[in-house]
Amino acid sequence: MSVVDVLVVGAGPAGLAAGIEVAKRGGRVCVVDRNLEPGGQLVKQIHKFFGSREHHAGVRGVDIAAQLLEEARALGVTLRLGWEVFAIRPGHAVDIVQAVADDATGSAGDAPTERFDARSVVLAAGAEENALQFEGWTLAGVMGAGAAQTLINVWRVRPGKRVLMVGAGNVGLIVTYQLLQAGVTVAAIIEAAPRIGGYGVHAAKIRRAGVPILTSHTILRAEGVECVEGAVVAQVDGTWCPIEGTERRFDVDVICVAVGLHPNTRLASLAGCRLVFSPALGGWVPLHNAFLETTVPGIYVAGDAAGIEEASTALEEGRLAGIAAYERLRDVDAEGHAEIAAIQRRLDDLRGGPFCGGIRAAKSALQTTGETPCPAT
């Protein structure tokens, strides 16, 4: 059994940032991730980030990931890649199992396990893509937009020749752009709502590349025997119901689903953290305070696992959780307080503007009343 000060689950931006903060303070930290390649979703983000200079604005996500990894390794953060956490017991004893073995096979009944004795745990395992159930949704070729992004930007493989993108939020718009950069045709983006949810500048890029965006449209079915051969869409009325006679077929071999993400809450749930349902944050999320501590003392949450936002907020929350997870062992000193205050200010900056109103309200409500605001509609 290994003893660490902090055990971090997930080597994405939040997890790596947490590990770095602990190591900077001289703490022993181990970051566990099921992927042999660390960096989480950051390694797929080949576009330049928004925000300000201190938020790495103008830098491509994939380059930020490389910088984080280098910093983590230089500071002596232990990385256990290809391992998965399967239990967190009071105290906290954290059990991990090898998900991908050295001989390149998957885990079996007798895959090696290890136990860590951790004084604090940071849950930073991110999110899962929401599924959308329509006739034919299980055909090969129907995949998450994030999945398509993994194929083109990490595996350097095209998912197919022609794509229908479902969802015009930022993920749908950005992945469409990246599919075009990868030499894949996007026949159209459909969006059930009457408005495009993502940033205007992301929509503008793909519109001038000739990709139509059909608002108030839904997918009726995917066609094909085992694999996608086409998609049929229809316009919807004010009650989300398809309007007869508006069906239209697209000749596509891939359907990407970009209808939102929800936080990964399995480990939080297993460990006994109280979850609350927050639509603005993507669904069930561990209740946490301003220091990102859950209802189980010593268990923290950061990044998309604490509510669906972005890479830049994940980085900041990771830093905050790392400091809080390590410092809980002693009184937080003045320097620690100043750093935490600076992080919270940068998080407020990132959550400014009309696009983030729901998130600001939800995070604030979680942290003050422990409840979630009722949605307006």
């Binding site: 300000s52 950069q181 500048v201 929509a203 001038r208 590349a209």
Partner: protein
């Protein structure tokens, strides 16, 4: 073609006219000038730092839309490749011969070559005419965003925002 940002995904000329980053027609006729087509309040400010002439102001909070000072702007185009949203262009309506030059950010392969004739498109992706590529280049400082300058008919100076992409595969070969 009229557009509405949240429905069609691109700005109409009306929406543009009231944007603080869009200079007057008169200014465009005097020489190259930046046109910042950014109208939503998003936390983002690399354009401010990119301009060596301090012609772009965002300030705080960083959700402010960028404001262009058309008198300080020289149309150098450094901002074009720094905007993460690829929302900044340079337009020059001062050229002779009834032409305009539009500089736009470009992140596809193949990169066009100077002298090439291309189809030019408006914000909705519709082809509005032909254009001649004057310049197309990336540098280390632009971090893989190319600046492409294309000569178009003058009346298209405020319309053309892209060049038509051929159906190419990732190897740069025509399909």
């Amino acid at each position: 073609m009229p557009g509405n940002l949240s429905q069609d995904g691109y700005l109409s000329l009306d929406e543009l006219r009231s944007a603080p980053g869009v200079p007057s027609h008169d200014r465009m006729r005097r020489g190259p000038v930046a046109v910042i087509e950014c109208v939503q309040e998003i936390p983002c400010n690399p354009c401010e730092a990119a301009c060596p002439h301090h012609a772009i102001r965002v300030g705080t909070p960083i959700t402010n839309c960028p404001v262009l000072d058309p008198e300080k702007c020289t149309g150098c185009g450094l901002c074009v490749t720094q905007c993460p949203g690829l929302a900044i262009f340079v337009v020059d309506l001062s050229r002779s011969g009834e032409t305009a030059a539009v500089t736009l950010p470009y992140e596809y392969l193949p990169l066009p070559e100077a002298g090439e004739l291309v189809d030019v498109v408006d914000r909705s992706g519709e082809v509005v005419g032909r254009g001649r590529v004057l310049r197309a280049a990336t540098t280390r400082a632009t971090d893989r965003t190319a600046a492409v300058t294309v000569e178009v008919a003058r009346e298209h100076g405020m319309n053309v925002r892209g060049i038509r992409r051929e159906e190419v595969d990732g190897n740069g070969h025509d399909r």
